[in-house]
């Protein structure tokens, strides 16, 4: 029983990180119908910037805030300068541009910071929290907490502010929103900025666990895809819940199903995606897309 609880808890911790990157993916997908393959690498690059700031002697939370600000502006600029010129190109052309961004960020990070793994500090205390026989890592609990806080802030922003409303309108019906005076182009750019910010949070939370290196996000991006698929690409809350579920299922299956072990863990996650897609293509919490004929 204790092993079970322990696995669930550590599953939730990694799941929270998958969830926050999945959240970033879902935000861009909802606003622009594009799956941003570069999301993971953007997050990785932001984390390196945080590392530089920490090396320069800044206190953690200041570096944290600074990184988020840079990530936000960076995401905004990428939309304006790189994505906007291909806005009207076929969707696959935009996907290729995203893949281009992915390799650029990965290569630049390797070039500037080298491919050697670097330890990255956690803002939370090192001493684990013990509850009965179950041991929680303080960082794990903190990471889940941070993810939930981000989700709550986004919820408040999108539900209860005029800007959030304008962004949702621009994503849902660009033409009508433009007629109502919403600056649709800028709303999309803001969406990219926010997604980059959420991605940066995911990067900062995952780096202490996996060490900082240019390829640290590629594995996590895959799980983020799985989470977003499971939860539904149209539902931000679904994406986070999907992340937590994927994390837990992955851990439990790896522990309890003898022929799978750690080698086939990823395959299980993928089989899960396939099953979900086949039974409920829009994901557990997603809205089915209705076409007007």
């Amino acid at each position: 029983m204790d092993t079970f609880l322990q696995q669930v808890v550590s599953g939730l911790a990694t799941g929270g990180i998958y969830g926050s990157l999945a959240l970033a993916l879902v935000m861009i997908y909802q606003a622009t119908d594009v799956v941003n393959f570069a999301q993971g690498e953007m997050a990785m690059f932001s984390t390196y910037l945080a590392w530089s700031m920490l090396q320069a002697g800044l206190p953690y939370w200041l570096a944290f805030a600074g990184t988020l600000a840079i990530a936000f502006v960076g995401g905004l600029l990428i939309e304006r300068l790189v994505i906007r010129p291909v806005e009207n190109a076929p969707i696959l052309a935009i996907v290729i541009v995203c893949i281009g961004l992915l390799v650029i960020f990965n290569s630049l990070a390797g070039w500037i910071y080298s491919y050697i793994q670097k330890p990255f500090p956690s803002p939370f205390p090192e001493r684990p929290i013990t509850l009965g026989a179950v041991v929680f890592g303080a960082h794990d609990v903190g990471a889940i907490g941070v993810t939930l806080v981000v989700l709550a802030l986004l919820y408040v922003f999108f539900r209860h502010t005029p800007l959030g409303l304008a962004m949702r309108a621009a994503a849902q019906n660009p033409v009508s929103s433009r007629l109502c005076g919403v600056r649709v182009g800028w709303m999309l750019a803001l969406g990219w900025g926010l997604a980059a910010l959420v991605g940066a949070v995911a990067g900062l939370m995952v780096a202490p666990k996996v060490f900082l290196d240019p390829n640290m996000m590629s594995g996590i991006l895959i799980y983020a895809f799985a989470s977003a698929t499971l939860g539904g690409f149209t539902s931000p809350c679904g994406a986070v819940l999907g992340g937590l579920l994927v994390g837990v299922i992955e851990n439990l299956v790896g522990t309890y199903v003898w022929f799978i072990g750690t080698e086939l863990k990823l395959t299980v996650a993928l089989a899960l995606i396939l099953v979900v897609l086949l039974v409920k293509p829009s994901g557990l919490f997603g809205r089915a897309v209705v076409h007007r004929v």
């Binding site: 076929p90 290729i96 086939l264 990823l266 995606i273 897609l277 086949l278």
Partner: protein, 340 residues
């Protein structure tokens, strides 16, 4: 052609006829010229260059397969590396474990991939767009792990080492020249097959399903059958490419068939030009040679240069190389179009 006619009206008519007839003749002439050059190359190039061009042909087959599925039929696949791997391992296991002659491995890979692709195509019917892309992406991701798991057959992460097939009947060719010519011949056969498949009724059905599935169904096209068969044919093309690549490289290992291979294929068809046969060849040249050029330009961050290339290409030619050439041709042949 139009220089010996005198009156403007006749000249105009001739010009229109010329413009209509010529593309097809010019295209054929272009293909023949390329073929002649390709036939001469193996006797002038070094073995390494020859290997690179063999690889281009092999990629072109895989891209052709993916283009039939994604370009013509509109089903986005991010998982064609999986079929490439199935083809490669079919060839490797047949040769290494069962000592079957090289020649049989290619049709076997085609057949196996046809069946696997068709079977994967049936559940894929429920998915479209992004969701299909993600499902196939999952397939591509799972491949290296699954290959490592069945160690008994696949040799695990060590892979399987093969030897390059020598030219038969005592032909005076090196192994590399022989492989080059075989790949060229197979590619040619596949191009002719694809052209015949796509230019008539079947091709129109595929494009109709892509552009308006409901209207296509209403016209009596069996959408489900066509879509899953397209998946099968596309996988078979890619499987043949995989089998040939196993022979050309003389080595297969799970990590060669990672996700990046599937993404590279997608890059190839989009850069080359969707829904075009020549696009597969342009795309294959791009994915084979551009990474090398990027390496030459900057040793420190070659992939950054490659990424910049990708983005610049998409800015300059959002419809790919073949699409841009088609546009250019149309402009050249109608230089003095009057305002209507």
């Amino acid at each position: 052609m139009a220089d010996h006619v005198s009156t403007p009206a006749v000249a105009r008519a001739a010009e229109i006829r010329w413009a209509r007839v010529a593309p097809w003749r010019w295209t054929l002439a272009g293909w023949l010229a390329v073929l002649v050059v390709a036939g001469v190359l193996p006797f002038t190039l070094s073995d390494f260059r020859l290997f690179q061009f063999t690889q281009v042909f092999i990629y072109a087959m895989a891209l052709l397969g993916l283009n039939i599925l994604t370009g013509y039929n509109g089903q986005i696949s991010l998982g064609h590396g999986a079929f490439y791997a199935v083809g490669a391992y079919t060839a490797a296991v047949m040769i290494d474990r069962w000592s079957i002659p090289y020649g049989w491995t290619i049709p076997a890979a085609a057949l196996l991939c046809l069946v696997v692709g068709f079977l994967f195509g049936i559940p894929a019917l429920r998915l479209e767009g992004l969701y299909l892309a993600l499902a196939t992406f999952a397939l591509a991701l799972a491949v290296p792990q699954i290959l490592k798991y069945f160690e008994h057959w696949t040799g695990g992460s060590q892979g399987i080492v093969l030897s390059k097939p020598a030219a038969p009947l005592g032909l005076p060719l090196t192994a590399d020249q022989w492989l080059y010519l075989v790949s060229l011949a197979v590619l040619l056969a596949l191009v002719v097959l694809a052209w015949n498949l796509l230019r008539g009724r079947t091709g129109r059905a595929l494009v109709a399903i892509r552009d308006n599935p409901i209207a296509a169904e209403a016209m009596g096209i069996n959408s489900a059958l066509y879509k899953s068969l397209t998946f099968g044919v596309s996988a078979a093309y890619t499987g043949v490419a995989g089998a040939l690549s196993a022979l050309a490289i003389a080595f297969v290992a799970p990590d060669a068939f990672n996700v990046f291979l599937s993404i590279t294929f997608l890059v190839g068809i989009v850069i080359g030009g969707l829904a075009s046969i020549s696009g597969a060849i342009f795309g294959a040249l791009f994915i084979q040679f551009v990474p090398n050029w990027a390496q030459d330009i900057s040793k420190a961050a070659p992939w950054a240069i490659y990424g910049v290339f990708l983005i610049v290409f998409m800015y300059a030619m959002p419809r790919g190389i073949a699409g841009s050439l088609r546009l250019l041709w149309r402009r050249l042949t109608r230089p003095n179009r009057r305002s209507p």
